[in-house]
């Protein structure tokens, strides 16, 4: 057999590798050495075999060298070995932990299901809320300058308090930009509603805004087509969103095309802007050039840049630095005084853009905003639900501890250390909670459409399945598992082996544990009772808002909006005559606004006030037959006479609140000279009616006739023949004013949209209350099953000694009943105070009273007793012979 050098070296290497005395890199070095030696000897004519033998000898005695190597590497070498062993051992232990954990989960499927499901539902809840909160939080933050943009708001203070407006006078924008160094740029918007037409494509646009060209500098609105520097500079130009561009031009290129407003005014499309994200408080469809408005404004009111009245502009400013807001704001009072004189009641503030969605509820907001407190409340509830599910987890796991006492005893007797056992049980908890986390993500995906409907959001699957989000789910799962597993793990591991195996470890390990478990259960009940009571109160309040008489006939009124189009006003008489000919139509009237959509406020003067003074008041511009159609009751004086339509705006009707504010009686006010644009007598006083949602206090109102301000047609119809009536209405409209798009809404439905936020609050509360209850019941059920099982023997003995089934049920349930009572006592004051604060925000509110609490308490008690009672009944009815043979 011939000598093979490679094989010989490999064998040598293998030998040393097995011994594990040398690190691989040192073996490499030695191998090199051997090879060098062999190569040299072979070079002078020695055979490979002989050279190898020689080389080995020359290397010297490795048996002696190894200690040397070790001395050099002492710690390193040894430590590396140890570390390797530890890691290997760790992995195999982890595998072992997981295997045992998995088997344990499978061995008690009921327990696993209850525990896992409870946790999954809790986590799903939490995750949904996290999505919701994040969505609310990111409103308006997509603008690059979000932290530097402020909205200019106006505030008027008089003896009745402060009235705050989201809109401001037109002069403020340019003035602030010129005179305040901290402000780099401003942009003014004027909201507008009008029909736009491209050939056959005709739509009522209520998302129109006149905007200055600086809009593209202040806000981040990337143009898909067109040039931001020039797009809105010329008069009669406009920029469309992508959606609007498709609406008017389909697939065709919109740039340079023309759109016609109200069939009179031509606009050229100079740009298409990316659709702004849904999370913006300023949502527009079309931006019109401000120059267009400037010309029209100049014709009627003068220079728009120096006009200090008519506060109908939304003005935003870009600060040089976010921190300069206070400094800029401090200069405003002096500036206002300089322009408006000392006795102006106007104050101007700078509101951060990022505060608008969650922290702003001024008058004339651009749309309904969210509410920070609602977000906090929801987030709080979600956390509480997560907490409940964790508590359940702790309870159930601790409760099961005793069942596993023997396992622990055996493990300890076989040499398991306390730390290992802790890890084992912690591992089980974490495994279950991570499984629950996976289940929670699936639940979230399934529940998302429902949750979107509930919260009026468009949260997407894609945002759920993002890396960071899934990572945070995992984090929550891990955290919940650790949290929920830590206590039971430590408790279980602390059992003493000998006692457990002898059976002398007490079934209930320590009174402290029992107290803790009972405390947690009571806390859970407190949460359930609290959330449920709060829900009932919220439901009551929303019902109250919806059912309280508004003071006018809101039912069976169909409203056709035409947004102040002059052509409709011109043909109003024809329209009314034709509509009144339809038998199922009772009344037809026109008005500037309708209840629930009140936007007009004016300043007035009445005899008795100093001549140069004026005060603000809500104004409703009406047709003479408005009061009749809306079923308003006159308290004094009379309604507008039909023939009064001739002397427009020269007679006035006040509501009771206005008269009261003037310090007069209804009788006194009749005939007094009143001025608002033009002057004339007060002819009547109408009974108060709620022209705004009941969150708001009823305010003073003046009504006058001024047809050019009409914007809505209200039609009172016979409910019985609604479909045919609606058809007749549409046909009449289309023949009389074909150029204006036909649209309609029911007054009561439209009015109730003001309660959307409250309804949502109620619904979210209700859903979460049910979830909390579900999780609590689940946990309770598991706990009850465990208790009954644990006391099987005791029950058997009691039965043999003559206890009745009902006695046993009572024995087992009274415990739980006590806890419900404790929870109830804790929950009542907290919820009462919290809900009082919520209700205080409403002008018209219910009194919380005791009913919601009794209801919530009763329901929780019933459920708890049912869950425990069923289990104990099963135990109580069981054959004692069998239960005594148990174990």
């Amino acid at each position: 057999m011939s000598f093979d050098l490679e094989k010989a070296i490999a064998t040598w290497r293998q030998f040393h590798e097995r011994r594990r005395m040398l690190l691989p890199q040192d073996l490499n070095e030695l191998e090199c050495h051997l090879r060098d030696h062999v190569a040299e000897r072979v070079g002078v004519g020695v055979s490979e075999e002989a050279a190898f033998e020689e080389a080995l000898l020359a290397v010297g005695d490795m048996g002696e060298a190894e200690p040397e190597y070790q001395k050099v590497y002492w710690g390193k070498l040894k430590r590396n070995h140890q570390r390797l062993d530890e890691i290997r051992g760790g992995i195999s232990m982890l595998k072992n932990y997981l295997t045992v954990a998995w088997r344990n989960l499978l061995r008690y499927p009921g327990y696993t299901l209850i525990n896992g499901l409870g946790l999954a539902v809790g986590m799903a809840c939490f995750l949904l809320m996290a999505l919701f909160v994040h969505d609310e939080w990111r409103y308006d933050r997509h603008h690059d300058n979000a932290d530097r943009i402020v909205r200019i708001t106006q505030h008027y203070t008089d003896e009745d308090g402060t009235r705050s407006f989201a809109r401001s006078v037109p002069a403020l924008g340019p003035t602030l930009q010129q005179e305040i160094a901290e402000i780099e740029e401003t942009v003014r918007f004027q909201r507008f509603t009008a029909p736009l037409r491209n050939g056959d494509r005709l739509f009522n646009e209520d998302g129109l805004f006149f905007a200055e060209p600086s809009v593209f500098e202040v806000f981040t609105l990337p143009l898909v087509q067109g040039d931001a520097a020039t797009a809105l500079v010329a008069p009669n130009t406009l920029v469309l969103t992508e959606t609007a561009a498709v609406r008017y031009f389909g697939g065709a290129d919109p740039l340079g095309q023309t759109l016609t407003m109200s069939d009179t005014l031509q606009f050229t499309v100079t740009g298409v802007v990316e659709n702004p994200p849904r999370q913006s408080h300023l949502s527009f469809e079309v931006l019109l050039s401000f120059e267009t408005l400037r010309h029209r404004f100049a014709a009627q009111w003068g220079d728009i840049d120096t006009h200090w009245r008519s506060g109908t502009f939304y003005t935003y400013a870009l600060l040089a630095d976010p921190a300069m807001r206070t400094a800029a704001e401090a200069q405003l009072p002096a500036l206002i005084e300089q322009h408006l004189g000392e006795d102006t009641s106007l104050q101007v503030q700078l509101q951060p853009l990022t505060d608008i969605h969650l922290r702003s509820s001024l008058r004339q907001e651009l749309g309904p905003n969210g509410s920070a407190s609602a977000v906090y409340i929801f987030a709080g509830i979600a956390l509480l639900i997560l907490l409940i599910s964790c508590i359940n987890f702790i309870n159930l796991t601790t409760a099961r501890a005793t069942r596993r006492a023997r396992e622990i005893g055996v493990r300890k007797a076989l040499g398991a250390q306390r730390g290992q056992l802790t890890r084992q049980f912690l591992g089980e908890a974490v495994l279950l909670s991570v499984l629950a986390g996976g289940m929670a993500v699936m639940l979230v995906l399934v529940l998302l459409p429902w949750f979107n409907a509930l919260t009026d959001k468009t949260l997407m699957w894609s945002s759920v399945l993002q890396g960071p989000y899934l990572l945070s789910v995992f984090g929550v799962a891990l955290g919940a598992g650790m949290l929920a597993g830590a206590y039971p793990a430590l408790l279980l591991a602390s059992y003493r082996a000998a006692q457990v195996l002898k059976g002398t470890q007490r079934a209930e390990p320590r009174s402290r544990t029992v107290l803790l478990r009972r405390g947690l259960v009571a806390f859970q009940f407190a949460l359930s009772v609290g959330i449920m009571a709060a829900t009932v109160i919220a439901i009551q309040q929303v019902d109250h808002l919806k059912s309280r008489p508004l003071g006018f006939a809101d039912e069976q009124v169909v409203v056709v909006p035409f947004y102040w189009e002059p052509v409709v006003v011109e043909r109003l008489e024809t329209l009314k005559t034709e509509l009144q000919a339809v038998p199922s139509i009772r009344h037809v009237t026109a008005s500037g606004d309708v209840p629930g959509r009140m936007f007009t406020s004016m300043s007035y003067w009445i005899e008795g006030m100093p001549t140069d003074e004026s005060r603000g008041i809500n104004a409703l511009i009406v047709d003479p037959d408005f009061a009749e159609t809306y079923g308003l009751t006159m308290v004094a004086g009379q309604d507008f006479a039909p023939e009064l339509a001739a002397d427009l705006g020269e007679t006035f009707i006040l509501n009771e609140a206005a008269v009261a504010e003037m310090g007069l009686t209804p009788e006194e006010v009749i005939g007094k000279p009143f001025r608002m644009n033009s002057q004339g007598p007060v002819v009547g006083v109408v009974e108060d009616f709620h022209f705004e949602g009941l969150q708001h206090k009823l305010e003073p109102l003046v009504m006058t006739v001024w047809p050019s301000w009409f914007g809505y047609l209200s039609v009172q119809v016979d409910a019985a023949q609604l479909p045919t009536t609606l058809l007749a209405l549409e046909q009449t409209w289309k023949t009389v004013v074909p150029e204006i798009p036909y649209d309609f809404f029911f007054l009561d439905e439209d009015f109730n949209t003001q309660y959307r936020a409250e309804e949502r609050f109620e619904q979210v509360f209700l859903s979460f209350a049910l979830l909390a209850l579900f999780i609590s019941a689940l946990g309770l059920f598991g706990l009850a099953a465990y208790t009954a099982e644990r006391r099987t023997k005791e029950i058997g003995v009691r039965k043999v000694l003559g206890a009745s089934a009902s006695g046993i049920v009572w024995m087992l349930t009274k415990d739980v009943a006590q806890l419900v009572v404790v929870g109830f006592l804790v929950a009542v004051p907290v919820v009462y105070l919290g809900m009082e604060r919520w209700l205080a925000a409403f002008a018209y509110r219910v009194d919380a009273g005791g009913l919601p609490f009794l209801l919530a308490g009763g329901f929780t008690l019933g459920l708890a007793v049912l869950a425990v009672g069923l289990q104990s009944l099963k135990a109580a009815l069981a054959d004692p012979v069998r239960s005594l043979r148990y174990e």
């Binding site: 490499n28 070095e29 191998e31 050495h33 090879r35 060098d36 010297g60 490795m62 050099v72």
Partner: protein
Amino acid sequence: MLPKELVAASLRPIMLTLLEERAMYGYQIIQRVHDLSDGQIKWTASKLYPLLHDLENKGLVEAFWQPSEAGPDRKYYRLTRVGREALAREKRSWLDLNAILVRLWGPELGLQTA
């Protein structure tokens, strides 16, 4: 053949000196010493490498790996700055010792005292 103790004692200074000249790998060092001493000093790998590693740990020499013609990468050693300083001290001690010996034995062997 020189006595074992002396060989062991001279290992360190000789090695440092060799590595000061240029970077070398273990086998080269052994060969070089063998040649230098006309076969009087024979280091074995099992003595050399632990010492090299020790010097490396102490920062007197540094090592780097280079590919070799056959087998695994070769490990080269060279002196570091710390190593040079150590060598300078080493030289002084050995020369001092040498001076003592020369003073003692010089006359009898016909050597001049330094």
